[in-house]
Amino acid sequence: MANAAEGGPLRVGMVGVGERGSYHLDLLLGMDSVEIKALCDIDDGFLYRAKKWVQDTGKPAPALYSRSKTDYLRLCDRDDLDLVVTATPWQYHAPVCIAAMQAGKHAATEVPAALTVDECWELVETSEKTGKHCTMLEQANYSPDVMTVLNMSQQGIFGDLLHASGGYVHDLRLVKFDPEREPWRLQHSIDRNGNNYPTHPMGPIAWWLGINRGDQFEYLVSMSTKARCLNDYAAHFFGDRHPYASMRMACGDVNTTLLRTAGGRTVTLHHDTNTPHPQTAEMRLQGTRGLYAGNIRKLYLEGRSPTAHEWQPLAEYEKEYQHPLWKRFDEEKFRTSRGHGGGATTPLLWRRLLEALRAGRAPDQNVYDAVTWSVISPLTEKSVAAKSRPVDFPDFTRGKWKSTPPISFA
């Protein structure tokens, strides 16, 4: 059978079909010219549910892999796959991607792509050596507001960019303690202090500022509060004497990181998954001519906003500056069949990724983006452990950021 680059269907193997992976599967099953050839999960419940979903669409049953925690290696070794998709717990993301690329497949991974600096370099080097893509599935980059602001910014509306901020401010206390959700997340809170989940805000900010495409991070400093909210939560729901009520949690409840770029711009990044707080888009982009504030969905543009120094709703600019990708995007065609939520940003991401792979183009999020956004996690841990001292940022592009053009979706 012809592979995707030769006009055949895109042949996919999926590793991890639990909470998030099953959503990706659901989306892929609704897309033309995609074949799910193989599935891997150590949880048989997830695995057989996924198999049934594939068969329900009238497609042949996929091969199943569940022998051990490293059975993804056998999946990667198949000779009928173009792409391996990973939606596993974090520590498997880099190993699965590396195995996939070494076996000649493109890799697409849930966020973050890696947990250590070494893993980040290994992803870059493996991708460069094998000529295979490693793309991250960071859907936040495709959210309508993020893309509208990107469109405005690329047209110079905000002037010369100075500062951006954003955060993953999402109360995950429930998820961390729920064995049926993602209990492995709790272990990261127990062991690691820093920004453990940077890519959701980092991806959009990196596109806005042109990171790896004209600018590059130089260094960061990071600071955490004490950790008490997970203990409080455990004491409330499980009782004062439950081990988690008094266990020492490494991860400070609120972590804040400052980054500086070679172009003299700064970024404030929040990580806040333990405090009671509604999920809020904390995104901000600021330039010499105005700024956008995502928490209130407003902006101010000097000489253009009707009243000096007064916010104006972003909605008033949406018509003029809606991103062409969203203008062309027919949401209806990308509904999942099984009612998974998640809006239209992940479907748009998949459409872009499949188009790129079919056309033999680099994905919007290349391997350098994947590691630049992910490496924040180990770098912040290092800074926090050393009383917020500055930590240098590796240049994974080895200087290529200077000559890489701004991101374009043409």
Binding site: L174, G264, P278, T280, G290, H309, W311, R389, P390
Partner: protein, 452 residues
Amino acid sequence: MERFPRDNAYNRREVLKGGALAGVGAAALSAGFAAEPLKSVRVGFVGTGGRGTELLRNLLRLEGVRIVALCDINEANLARAQDLVQKAGQPRPPGYSKSDTDWQRLCDRDDLDLVVNATPWQWHAPISVAAMKAGKHAATEVPAAQTVEQCWELVETSEKTGRHCALLENDCYYREVLMILNMLRDGLLGEPLYAEAGYMHDIRAVKFNTVPNGEPWRLEHAVSRNGNLYPTHPLGPLSWWFGINRGDSFSYLVSMSSKARSLQEFAAKTFGPEDRRSKTQYKLGDVNVTLIHTEQGRTVTLYHDTNTPRPKEHLVRIQGSKGVYNSMMERIFVDGRSSAASKLREGWRATHEWEDPAEYRKQYDHKLWREQEANARNAGHGGVDYLELYRLIKNLREGKPLDIDVYDAAAWSVIVPLTESSVAGRSKPVDIPDFTRGKWKTRAPIDPDAIG
């Protein structure tokens, strides 16, 4: 399912539990320094420009205040101030305007209780020190000092002379700030863990003196200095919330600045690209961000952003262990109350809904505002220019500790030179001096009920 339990005294109980006050009973908590009560407060006033005039107007409305002497090198400003005092029914006070340091002669008078100063920044500390050395209390506009040494000098002079050095930080008296103080005291938001705030205010026109009451001396600071040059407006409120110098203390900071572009752009647009001001290399980064860590493990994100075109913002959010108040969004979330506690375990999005804080505002409104709103109404900055002076004069007359004392003045102002050090050292961590020399561990938390 039951609600999250309210902890009505996180401050005392948890601070004790946490070890900062281990072994110290509540009774051993100490109040701040108090001076002898004053029947009336005889004031010498230094700096009668735009800001000074606003303060003077409010002082003249307070009972028990007499303006005895005035000082300004600008004789027109001085005469305007003398007229104001006379119009208020007091004798026309003598004016001091011989030189840049004529405030020294004013301080040396023997008929003053308090020297208030609203001068350009570099004069704040020298005037306050001179006043205290001459036996007068000092009250200074913000910031109180420009260097670490000046901060220590203020503290040591105050301790040695037994005179107050008050900081006139009006932002502490905003209705919202005092409401949050009430919320924290009642445990509504749990223990405060994190605050985000800043001085985010486009004052390009003030710096370039293209508006009435411009302050062109501010531009000189932007030419030669890089850091957070004006931290006390946001730091005052959040220091009260965290109990800085009263159960907690600033420990260290890191600071980072963006490049400086906006002043050049403004000058080019306003004066033309060939103007000297359009070619000046300004040192002050347009957006400065500072992270501060406290002894109790809390953190602050502090912005200084005075060069860019933007709406004014000062408080963003205060995050506690049981809830969050977002001033910029005008929203509140309280665990177990904003979403029914029974739903806490059901979903990860659906149960987290922001609330309109209107009902909370009624419940936690501070008594100072209920009692003084009519008097404050026409004063500057929405009334707080009156309230800060009302509180200062009241405490001095009653012989009580000040709301904002010399330790607060030093701890909030020292952020300026420390951010400059950090920025110059590529955002390296810089320790923040403990001006209380350990007394923060035993000083009583600020009592919102005592602010009336």
